[in-house]
Amino acid sequence: MESGRPPALEVEGLGLRIGGVTIVEDVSLQVRRGEFLVIIGPNGAGKTTLFNLISGFTRPTAGRITFGAHDVTHAAPYERARLGLGRTFQTSTVFAGLSTFENVRLAASAALGTSTRMWDRADGEAAPLARARAALEEVGLGARAQTIAAQLSHGEKRKLDLAILLCSEPSVVLLDEPTAGMAVEEVGDMVDLIRRIHREQAKTVMMVEHRMDLVLSLADRMAVMHHGRLLALDTPERIIANETVQSAYLGDPL
């Protein structure tokens, strides 16, 4: 690390073995503050598992995870979220039976610490309501506020995912294939949105993505995973030039 500041997120020797099968092995990386790190790799390489380990939904069998000044290796997922580690899931996981607005309001209320209040009206709290509205506007779902989330299109759900994340005002966001399954015309919007969030809100971003063309314009650095291991971690230009990466990502020649 060139500066003296601690990295936003540090993973050391992280591993996961389940019943003799190695899913993730000896992954070490540091994410700098404000950095945009993209993780690529073929299907089944362990990218989502790495996210699950970092966010705490899966417990590692080896290694250490440090978030800012905190060792969070054994922290519960909600504790990590509270420290400012936000994530989206690969398959969109909004609260399907609730309205679009209620989805973000919940997140805003959770982030502002008002979720435990029993004596207030959820629809009468000024601060969460304002933050929720702002987040919906930010992702362009303002007009869909009253729609039940289950009735949103796939692309809209992914945007809602992002809006929920924004409400929590995390310092580090993990985005798991945010454009997967989106219509072509929606992808551009999504990329712009992610870029804006990264630049304007000065967030540290880790993103799993398959489309290299999208990734190149966003990433500061790229990490390549293959068979549960970190194959390379470098600038996009150098990653593209790397032959090992080429063969891993596009398939070994037969």
Partner: protein, 338 residues
């Protein structure tokens, strides 16, 4: 507009004990008769109880098979304090309130460490333990299978006797109003909204930085406490405790009430509870109708068993009307608006 209607309805309900009108077919005696008021009071109590179950099952998504236990706490703790220890009513109520918070807190803390079907089973098991305890009649406290009657002198005079049924009726109506208000307030509060989020997707709630366990426990305790309050009103209306309310069948009946009315809508649950109790009561009377008695056994026996008719009705409802009566009312309303 809606509130004006609701207020008018509430006022009318409160005035029933002064209305000497017979509603043919609906009630046996006139509105102000003790029999009708008692039936209505019980309907209100079960409406309130169904609502408390809907908080934990319908809103938080916890399939508890032990809810009867907390109702039984209200019934038995109060009854024992009054009839066995001869405490005053206020003292008995304080004790009941304390137990009604601590017991669901302790059992909820244990049960909520598991989810889904294991959660259902372990709540069922604890309720069963409660039932065994009541039937075993420890230290002669519960009266075992006989139950526990509130004899003369243990209750204030205003709550005893046929002539005072109106007072009990008002207590039951007040209980239903208070429970509805608290339930409505709770599910609309930031806390209650988290319950619904947990029902939709618990993992996502975790990712928001909230610990679902504590929220589920809050729902469990609130609904348990309110169920105990309903239990107290039931005890007063019935004038005694009866081990029937501790059984697992009773929890299943609660499930029937809530599904009958529609899961996840408070007023649907209330409606389900009221309709269930009314049918249960009226079907007993129906079974004594001479015309029915004259039928051959194959028809007479099933028709004179309220639980049989309700069970079949329930099956039909689950098969063909999964939204419950509430859903039927809603869709009828939607049609009339169009």
């Amino acid at each position: 507009m809606r509130f004006a209607l609701l207020a008018a309805l509430a006022l009318l309900v409160l005035l029933f004990p002064f209305i000497h009108v017979t509603v043919p077919g609906l009630f046996e005696g006139p509105l102000d008769s003790a029999g009708t008021l008692n039936l209505l009071g019980l309907c209100f109590v079960f409406g309130a109880l169904a609502l408390t179950y809907d908080i934990v099952f319908g809103y938080t998504g916890l399939l508890s098979f032990g809810h009867a236990l907390y109702f039984a706490v209200g019934v038995y703790v109060t009854a024992i304090a009054l009839a066995r220890w001869h405490w005053s009513l206020p003292a008995a109520l304080v004790l009941t309130a304390v137990v009604a918070v601590l017991l669901p807190l302790a059992l909820g803390a244990i049960c909520l460490r598991v989810r889904d079907i294991p959660f259902a089973m372990v709540t069922l098991a604890f309720a069963e333990a409660g039932s065994i305890l009541v039937l075993q009649n420890p230290f002669g406290l519960t009266g075992g299978e006989e139950g526990l009657a509130l004899g003369g002198g243990v209750l204030p005079a205003a709550l005893v006797g046929v002539s005072n049924t109106a007072h009990l009726y008002w207590i039951a109506a007040g209980l239903l109003a208070a429970t509805s208000l608290i339930g409505w307030w709770a599910v609309g509060s930031p806390l209650g909204r988290v319950w619904q989020a947990i029902r939709e997707n618990e993992r996502r709630v975790t990712a928001l930085g909230l610990n679902p366990y504590l929220y589920k426990l809050a729902s469990f305790v609130l609904s348990g406490f309110l169920a105990a309050c309903a239990g107290v009103a039931y005890l007063l209306l019935q004038g005694g405790a009866n081990p029937q309310v501790t059984t697992s069948s009773f929890t299943l009946v609660l499930l029937v009430m809530v599904v009958l009315g529609g899961v996840g809508t408070l007023w649907g649950a209330v409606l389900g509870g009221i309709v269930y109790e009314y049918l249960d009561f009226r079907l007993v009377e129906f079974s004594n109708v001479p015309a029915l008695q004259a039928l051959p056994g194959v028809l007479r026996v099933p028709l004179s068993e309220p639980l049989f008719i309700l069970g079949v009705l329930f099956i039909v409802l689950v098969l063909f009307l999964p939204q419950g009566l509430g859903g039927l009312v809603r869709s009828a309303g939607a049609r009339s608006e169009r």
